[in-house]
Each structure stands twice: as C-alpha cells, then as structure tokens.
C-alpha cells in the first residue's frame, strides 16, 4: 500500500510537472538550454533527496515509492537529470559524503569505461574517460572508481570508491541522445580533496550500471503510460471517413497491443523498483530493462502509426516521449546485453533449474 506521505508527494510532483514542463520547456531543453528555474522548483520540493535515507538528510520515503517519482518524470518527459541526481545523492549518502545540492550525474555509465583513483598530495587523483554521461556538462559528477596503487591506508587496493567531482572539472566533449538530452564524454585528470572521496560499500561500477538500468526501466514505464494516453486520446479525436479513427477495429487492435506493452513495462518497472529496494538483485533488473526496451519499440511504432503524419512533426508532442524511449532502451545496457546476462544465468542454472530461478527472482 502506498503511504499517505508518498501519495501527497506524488500529487504535488504531478502538479509541479504539469505546471513546469510544457512543450515550450521541452523545446528549450532540446535546443541546449538548461532549465534553471524548473530545476530550482524541483529542488525546492526536495525531490532529488527522495532516495536518501532519513538519517542522511532525506525524508525516509520507502525506496519503491521514491522511485515512482522517476516514473512520473518519465510520464512528463522532464528534461532534467532528476533520476541521476536521486541516484547520485543515494550513492553519496551511502558513502557518507556530503550532499552538495544542485544537479548531479553519475559516471561511468558505459560498462567498458574505467575510472581510477590514486592517492596524490594528501588528496586524490581521478583519471580516465567516461562516455555518454547524462547531463555531464551541467551537473556535478558522482564517480565510482577503483582505487589503484598507491591507495595508502584509505582502503584496500581495488576497492570501489565514490567521489564527488564539481561541475566543469572535466575535459568535456558534448553529445546528446535522440531526445537531445546531454550525453557528454568527460575526461578526468582531476585532483580532488580528501573529503570528496570515500569508500562506496556495496555500490561498485557494476551495481551503478544495474541501478541505472532500473531507473531507465522505471522512466520508460512512465513514458509508455503517457504514449498510451496520448494515442488513445488522438484516436478518439481524429476523424476520418466520418467517424473517430478509434472506432475502426484495425485501430482498436493496435491500441490494445500498445496497452499490453505499456502494462508489461509498468509491471517490469515495478519489478525493477522492488529489486532496487531489496538491494539490487541483478536478474529482475536485467529482465525489467529488457522488457521495457522491447515494449518501447513496439509501443512507439504503434503510437506513430496511429498518430499518422501529425505525430511525425516536431510540432506535435509525441516525439518528446518516443525519442526518449528509443534512447533510454539502449542506455545502461540494451536488450542484447541484459538478455545475454539472463541467458547465461539460466544456462548456469540448467534446464531443471530454470523454474526455481524464475520463482526466486
């Protein structure tokens, strides 16, 4: 059951997103503008702290309910790093580091990027390149990195550390995803003070990758709910041959398939949220990301088919959602990567271990 606090938060956040994020803001964001006033409004409401435990300055929301805010942000195509900041604050709090406020992002997000930390002059030297970091050009980056020799007495060599890197400290090569959300390459050769780095118990780069997959799944569930609502409304409004196109069985069957994909994605997002709440078990998160990714493709195709040429224009709002879906499904691991991971786990369990694996997930 959803707690009262959380229902109030969801209602307030919905109102905020409705007021603050219209097509005009989304277009501005696409053109590269940072929506400072909107970010302030989101921050004033405390949303970036939703995943931070109470003792670390959060408001003690159950994790599943906090993650529902990310679904909501997906449903409004909020062009801000809210999910990234929520996760980054959680990682900082987990490592006992101070929460700086303002927009945050995470690195590395690509599984083959390696960042390293080494002791240098009483502080730390962070080195390496992280590709396609969400909002890397505007946000401070929470980096997860292995500590390499010399690690000194800060911890064992090879241990994972969290480090807070202020915005603008990396050599930045800007890029964007299909929805024009910043996805920037950050090259670090950066000295950090001792108090910005701490061991990150339980959250190494692999766990970060899974957490990222979980939040993208949840956001896709939100965007798919919106796409279903928009497409249904359009089918009821748009008339051809003297009646709303939604009265034609061909369109109805399309929309029923879209609804099924949206429902599956929503359930997958719920699975991912619960897995994060229970400590980040990999198999359900992998399944969720893959399932949402597949739903994204099927649903976006149907939504565009039903919207016709109108939905193919930049003026219509559909693309804000479908472009995000086409991007998010391949961020933090695409269907192939997560499918292989699940498939190998199934192979390890063996034919007779498949069902026990399914019921335990």
């Amino acid at each position: 059951m959803v707690s009262d606090t959380s229902q109030i938060l969801v209602d307030t956040a919905t109102r905020l997103f409705e007021e603050q994020f219209t097509a005009r803001q989304r277009v501005a964001a696409e053109s590269g503008q940072w929506l400072d006033a909107q970010w302030q409004a989101v921050e004033d409401m405390g949303l970036p702290l939703a995943l931070v435990p109470e003792e670390a300055g959060g408001f003690g929301l159950p994790v599943v309910e906090a993650l529902d805010l990310i679904r909501l942000a997906g449903a409004f195509a909020v062009p801000l790093p809210l999910a990234e900041t929520m996760l980054a604050n959680r990682i900082l709090a987990n490592a006992g580091l101070e929460l700086p406020g303002g927009p945050l992002t995470l690195a590395p997000v690509r599984p083959d990027d390696r960042l390293t930390l080494a002791r240098r002059d009483g502080g730390w030297l962070l080195s390496g390149t992280a590709h396609r970091v969400p909002w890397g050009r505007v946000a401070a980056t929470v980096v997860l990195a292995r500590c390499e020799d010399p690690c000194g007495d800060a911890g064992q060599d090879g241990q994972s550390f969290a480090a807070l890197v202020p915005a603008g400290q990396a050599d930045t090569a800007p890029d964007v995803n299909l929805a024009k959300e910043p996805r920037d390459s950050l090259r670090f050769e950066t000295l950090l003070p001792a108090e910005s780095v701490a061991p990150s118990p339980g959250i190494a780069p692999a766990e970060l990758h899974a957490l990222g997959a979980a939040v993208r799944s949840i956001a896709m569930a939100g965007a798919l709910g919106r796409v279903l609502a928009m497409t249904t409304a359009y089918a009821n409004e748009r008339s051809q041959f003297g009646r709303p196109i939604g009265k034609f069985q061909a369109i109805q069957q399309h929309l029923a398939v879209l609804a099924g994909q949206a429902a599956a994605a929503r359930a997958a997002g719920d699975i991912a949220a619960e897995a994060v709440a229970q400590g980040g078990s990999l198999l359900p998160i992998a399944a969720a990301k893959l399932r949402c990714g597949e739903a994204a493709g099927v649903a976006a195709a149907i939504a565009h088919q039903v919207h016709g040429a109108m939905g193919f224009t930049h003026e219509h709002s559909l693309h804000f959602f479908t472009k995000r879906l086409w991007s998010w499904r391949d961020e933090f691991g695409g269907d192939g990567e997560w499918g292989r991971l699940i498939g190998r786990e199934v192979a390890r369990a063996g034919a007779d271990g498949l069902w026990p694996l399914v019921t335990a997930a």
């Binding site: 009821n236 609804a259 929503r266 498939g343 034919a351």
Partner: protein
C-alpha cells in the same frame, strides 16, 4: 482508473508450500517424459487428480464446510504454477477448480454446493464447460441451445462444441438460451448438468494432431430437473462474464509451452552462444513479467475485485509468449520436429508446434480480448 497499473501481488509467504508441492511432483512425475509434460494442462490423469485432492490442493480457497481449505489465492496460485511448470497432468480437476467450483460457490444453491463441492475438492468429480456451439464461438451470446421449462424442470435441445474432456467429465456447466433470442444477454441461463442424463450424446472431435480432447455434446430432449438451474433464470450472461476473469489470467495463460523452453535450455547446454543466450534471456524476462502480471490479477481476485480487463491483457500477452517459443526454439537448435522422436527436444517441439494455434483461440480469441481491452481504453 489507470488500467495499466497492476497492484503488487500480495506478499504471502508461500515458500514452504512451494517446497511441499515440488517434493510431491518430483515423486509423482519421476518417470513422466518431456513430451508428456509438454501436454501442459491438457494432460488428463484421474488418479493423479485424486492424489492432488488428497493433498488438499483442489478448491484450496473454498470454505471448509464445502471441503475447501480456506487458503489464499496466492497459495492456490503457487500450486497451479508448480504443477504447470512441472508438466503435471492436471486437466481432470482443472476446470472445476478454476471456474465451475467458484461459480457454484457464487450462485449455486446450498444443496448444489453440498452435493458437488466436496467431491470436487476430493479430486473425484470432474467438470467440462458448455459454452461454445457450432454457430457461436466468439459471439457467445448467439448460443442456440435452448432449455424450455416443463413440469418439474427443463428440456434441453441443441449442440455444444469444443467441449474439452466432456468424455471424462461428470458434469457440464451449460450456458444456453432460456428466453427470447432477441434478448441476447437477458435470455440466457446456466445449468448444472449431470452428463449421465438420458438424451445427451458425447462424440469425439479429433484435433489437428489427431488427439481427442474436444467433443461435440448433443442434447436431444434431455430433461433437467428444476434443481439443475444454476443461479437465477435469465442471469446466464452476467454469470458467464464473471467466470471469464478466472479463466483468463491464471498461469496456464503463459506456461502452456514452458516444457519446450526447459528442453531448449537443456539442448543449448551450459555454454550457449551469445545469440542463444540473449534469446533465452529475453524469453525468461518475458516470463518474469508475465508471472508478475498474472499474480497481480490473482491478488485482485482475492480482494473481490473484477479484473476482467487486466485478465484480458494477461491472456493476450501470455498467448504471444507461448506461441513464439517454438519459433524461437527452432532457430536455436538444429532439429526437425517429430512426435515419434526419441530425442526429447524434437518430440516436445513437435507437440508444441501442433498445439500453439489453439492458445490464442481457447478462452477468448486474441481479437475478442483486444476488443475488450479497446473498450477498457474508452474506444468503443
């Protein structure tokens, strides 16, 4: 209502029960071959059903005074899914446990409940469903079989078709016309029909695999006593629609091809190629999500809600999954489908290929389900 939001399944501790069922099935099915397991819920074994009844796993949620066990819907769900995943022959008791028993509980008279329900839970009384007719498939309200009131009861004439396991069943829940043909919904009723009644002929219909599950059931002046009426006269349509939520959301709506997935994993071995691993991983991901959706509907049924729409979504998604498994399996393993093969994969593939067309027909066709979903979206 947010129709794509399925509430989390109830958080019931079921792992003890699950272990119990697994141990029971490991012993019961020790020698059951994969191709027999792949019959899924079409496998019929009256003795097996009796032993399931003795374990208290039929009518699990029903009141104890009718032989039930007053357990939760999620506990029942665990028993069902374990049986299906293991390929147990559950058909004998399946229909009564799933829908006929719950229907009797809901609208039956005290005498009907007392007489029938304890025998169902004991695994000794089997049911078939008398809905479809030669000219009434998806358009169920077009049924022509008619019960005419006479002294002391009704006389029934007409033909039911596709009646699964009528030849082994003790009773049929008959859906037929009792009023004017113009009153499509209000003119229908349901009856509890003892299949030993004179005037009822049951004839086999072989399916495309040559197997006998279906029947044609012909009523010729069959006399039913007044006590055979189930629920209110003229309430047949509402009652039948209520039954369908139970019929459409269970684990049998996505596990029908599960044995083939198991044999696929076996055939691929411990080190599948990247391509095969990704394909199996994808199917497993779908399975996890379908199971979540289906358990959620079980929870809604337990709360007394009517999740007819959600059940349609589950069944539509589930049938796609069940039907794509053979197409994917045959691309990953080099084998010809053969019912006679001694190679398990080939035999299971053959059986599954020959059965999947029915998965999007039985219990509501894909098109009907999608029509229901479209109505739920406000398009009709």
């Amino acid at each position: 209502m947010d129709l794509i939001a399925f509430p989390p399944p109830p958080d019931t501790d079921v792992e003890g029960l699950r272990a119990e069922v697994r141990a029971f099935l490991a012993e019961e099915l020790a020698t059951r071959r994969p191709q027999d397991r792949s019959r899924s819920w079409s496998g019929f074994d009256a003795d097996f059903s009796r032993r399931v009844g003795q374990r208290g796993w039929i009518g699990m949620t029903w009141p104890k005074r009718y032989g039930g066990h007053e357990r939760s819907a999620l506990e029942r769900y665990v028993v069902l899914e374990e049986m299906l995943a293991a390929g147990a022959p559950v058909a004998a008791h399946w229909f009564a446990d799933r829908q006929s028993g719950p229907l009797l509980l809901k609208v039956g008279t005290e005498e009907q409940r007392q007489a029938i329900l304890p025998r169902i839970t004991a695994g000794e009384c089997f049911f078939c469903i008398g809905m479809s007719e030669p000219d009434s498939g998806s358009d169920l309200a077009a049924v022509r079989t008619r019960a005419v009131p006479v002294d002391g009861g009704f006389v029934v004439n007409g033909t039911k078709l596709w009646t699964t396991y009528a030849h082994h069943a003790d009773y049929m829940i008959l859906f037929c016309r009792t009023g004017s043909a113009d009153d499509r919904h209000g003119g229908t009723s349901q009856f509890l029909v003892d299949l030993k009644t004179p005037g009822i002929a049951i004839r086999p219909i072989a399916d495309l695999a040559g197997e006998h599950h279906f029947n044609e059931v012909v009523f010729e002046d069959a006399f039913l006593p007044a006590t055979a009426l189930l629920g209110q006269l003229g309430d047949g349509w509402n009652q039948v629609v209520g039954e369908l939520a139970f019929e459409r959301s269970g684990p049998e709506r996505f596990l029908s091809s599960f044995t083939l997935l198991v044999e696929l994993v076996r055939a691929l071995g411990p080190s599948p190629s990247d391509h095969a691993a990704a394909a199996v991983g994808r199917l497993t991901a779908h399975l996890l999500v379908l199971r979540r959706l289906s358990r959620s509907v079980a929870g809604m049924l337990q709360m007394g809600e009517n999740p007819a729409l959600q059940a349609s979504l589950v069944k539509d998604l589930g049938a796609i999954f069940e039907q794509e498994i053979p197409d994917i399996a045959r691309q990953l393993v080099d084998a010809e489908p053969s019912q006679q093969s001694t190679r398990d994969f080939s035999a299971v593939l053959a059986h599954t290929i020959l059965n999947v067309p029915s998965f999007s027909l039985r219990g509501g066709t894909r098109e009907i389900l999608r029509g229901i979903i479209a109505r739920g979206l406000g398009l009709r």
